[in-house]
């Protein structure tokens, strides 16, 4: 079943091409987009099942043996990430069937969405650093266009910041890859892992580790490189920002975890302590930024930053339990954060604004929606029995075992502040009375929702909320899966053997 590795790349590519050809027929294009997203989820689950059964699955494209050919590798971690990408893709496509503007659809909304998924899946299953750069660019180009599609002033301002800062990151990444190739003579990740285990530690590798940390740090929005994120995510259409919030920064985190378990493990005192410090600062700055905000999606955007801090906390601790915690946290976060953004989209449809000062009375008007918001919001803050509680519990336990008490204090304090901002959204948007009409500027007219449209908007949110609850109630199997994935990450001999075909 080696071909299962190829499917998550082929399906979005084929869907995007078919959707481009169907751009004149809106209904057909939507059908293609929906089928493609469903097929991607199916293929991703097939890949996960294959990896679970047969271990690390590799495919040498074109039959050239590694390290010379193009290598695709799926270990448990990447297979899980691909499965999540498929799930988020499907949720967002269903949501956009109702939320996307006709104007957006006519200029290529659906094809771009699938090209974005193509880049994300490609980044997850490539086994070569230069191919990783190429997949990142595929993903970035699609995200640039999606962000600027509307052409309004706000979107343009967000897009210019996003584009420029991400291109700087890309040029850092390219330079780092070039120097690494000059040093090691290979860019195949398994071959590089073997190289970094066989050669004595050198200062140049530490410099390279820092360069990679900066490049992927910008892309995953860690302290102090996160400024593009809160400046741009809230300007895009909601479905787009939900997909960005769920997936894009997490690709950066995925690569950080991948290269700092596979390549740069020679100077743990420097690199992983640096990551640990950064994770603490990321959590604090993100959550404090959120406290100061007064717009629904800007609060959520700042929380992405603080949550990225939790994810790389496990990488900084670098123990099996901590890495399992990081993986569990990423899964939890992608589901919950996409869900919160989707719900903000429903609020935008009902009220026509996301400014907390002008929202209100939603609990009285739509109690179901209020409940739907509360589940992921409390999960984000880490209240039991939801998935966020277990994710934070694992990380805190791992930190206690390493006696990093300071970071434990930070993690717990940040989760209280997260709860504070979630209750702020709850209080302002849902609980308080609707601001009296005629007072201040009137809200822009909200569009009416048909019952079919309501179903399309709410179905993905309900599904994701149920998933959060399900993970919370039955955390055991997922935790075991995360532990297994962390085991594969910490013991790369299996990875090297699967790619290069011989024991190192």
């Amino acid at each position: 079943m080696q071909q299962a590795v190829l499917l998550p790349i082929l399906i979005p590519l084929a869907t995007a091409i078919a959707a481009i050809f169907a751009r004149k027929q809106r209904r057909l294009q939507r059908l293609i987009s929906l089928c493609g997203a469903a097929a991607l989820l199916g293929a991703a689950l097939l890949l996960l099942a294959t990896v679970r059964r047969d271990g690390i699955t590799t495919l040498q494209v074109g039959g050239w043996p590694a390290p010379f050919g193009i290598t695709l590798v799926a270990d448990l971690f990447s297979a899980m990430m691909v499965a999540l990408a498929g799930l988020m893709g499907l949720s967002v496509v269903v949501f956009s069937l109702e939320s996307a503007d006709v104007a957006h659809e006519e200029v290529g909304y659906h094809p771009l969405l699938h090209i974005l998924l193509l880049g994300v899946c490609g980044s997850f299953i490539t086994g070569d650093l230069f191919n990783l750069y190429v997949w990142f660019e595929v993903m970035l180009i699609a995200s640039f266009v999606l962000l600027a599609l509307g052409g309004s002033r706000g979107e343009m301002e967000g897009a210019i910041k996003y584009v420029v800062l991400n291109l700087i990151a890309s040029s850092f990444l390219l330079a780092a890859i070039g120097i690494l190739y000059g040093v090691a003579g290979t860019l195949n990740m398994a071959d590089l892992a073997r190289y970094s285990r066989e050669t004595p530690h050198s200062g140049l590798l530490t410099v390279l580790a820092t360069l990679f940390l900066v490049a992927f740090g910008i892309k995953s929005a860690i302290f102090p490189l996160f400024f593009w994120l809160p400046a741009s995510y809230h300007t895009a259409p909601v479905a787009i920002s939900a997909l960005f919030a769920g997936l894009l920064t997490k690709v950066g985190v995925y690569v950080l975890i991948r290269i700092f378990t596979l390549l740069f493990i020679q100077d743990l005192d420097y690199s992983h302590n640096l990551i640990l410090t950064i994770s603490g600062l990321t959590m604090i700055t993100g959550v404090l930024g959120a406290v100061a905000q007064n717009e629904f999606r800007r609060i959520l955007s700042f929380h992405i930053i603080s949550q990225v801090g939790y994810m790389i906390l496990g990488l900084g601790l670098y123990t099996p339990l901590a890495l399992a915690g990081s993986i569990f946290y990423i899964i939890h976060h992608i589901i919950v954060k996409t869900n919160l953004f989707l719900i903000s989209g429903v609020v935008l449809r009902l009220r026509g604004t996301l400014d907390l000062g002008r929202l209100g009375g939603l609990y009285r008007e739509a109690p179901g929606l209020a409940l739907l918001f509360l589940i992921p919001a409390l999960s984000l803050a880490g209240l039991p029995p939801l998935s966020g509680f277990w994710a934070k519990l694992i990380l805190v336990r791992a930190a206690l075992e390493q006696q990093s008490y300071l970071v434990v204090v930070v993690a717990l304090a940040v989760s209280i502040l997260t709860l504070f901002s979630m209750t702020k959204i709850w209080g302002e948007a849902f609980w308080k009375e609707s601001p009296a009409a005629g007072e201040g500027t009137p809200a822009p007219a909200a569009r009416a929702l048909s019952s079919g449209g309501r179903l399309l908007l709410l179905a993905p949110a309900v599904l994701l909320a149920l998933l959060t609850v399900a993970i919370g109630l039955g955390a055991g199997p997922l935790f075991e899966l995360s532990q297994e994935a962390a085991g594969q990450l910490l013991n790369p001999d299996g990875y090297i053997e699967a790619v290069l075909g011989q024991a190192p």
């Binding site: 180009i141 052409g151 210019i160 584009v163 070039g178 120097i179 809230h234």
Partner: protein, 115 residues
């Protein structure tokens, strides 16, 4: 030759970063182009600079007789140039649209959504 290239690359990086911290978005795009070229030249130099010796493997041997330049880095640059070209073309169109929409090229004025 390597020393000269090192200075050229360093100069390009310095000029690129200086352009990026300017407030005009046009200069930011120039800065991006310079940074991209600096990275490409860096990769080019990493593959050794050797003149007039094609990396051909003679019959019966398993590798080309040194010193030869590594052809793979040049293939990498080719890919990077193509990607850079596409990205910069997009960025040019974007700043044109931004200028149309905002009416200025000063980044400091682009703060209507930062509240």
């Amino acid at each position: 030759m390597e020393t000269l290239m090192a200075f050229v690359i360093g100069g390009l990086y310095a000029a690129g970063l200086y352009m990026m911290v300017r407030r005009s978005i046009v200069k930011m795009i120039f800065g991006l182009a310079l940074l991209g070229n600096a990275a490409n030249l860096l990769i080019f130099t990493m593959g050794r600079l050797v003149r007039g010796r094609p990396p051909l493997v003679p019959l019966g041997a398993s590798e080309a007789p040194p010193p030869v330049a590594d052809p793979l880095t040049q293939a990498l640059i080719l890919t990077a140039i193509v990607i850079g070209f596409g990205v910069q073309a997009f960025a040019m169109v974007l700043i044109k649209r931004v200028y149309d929409e905002v009416g200025t090229d000063d980044v400091d004025q682009m703060n209507t959504t930062d509240t």
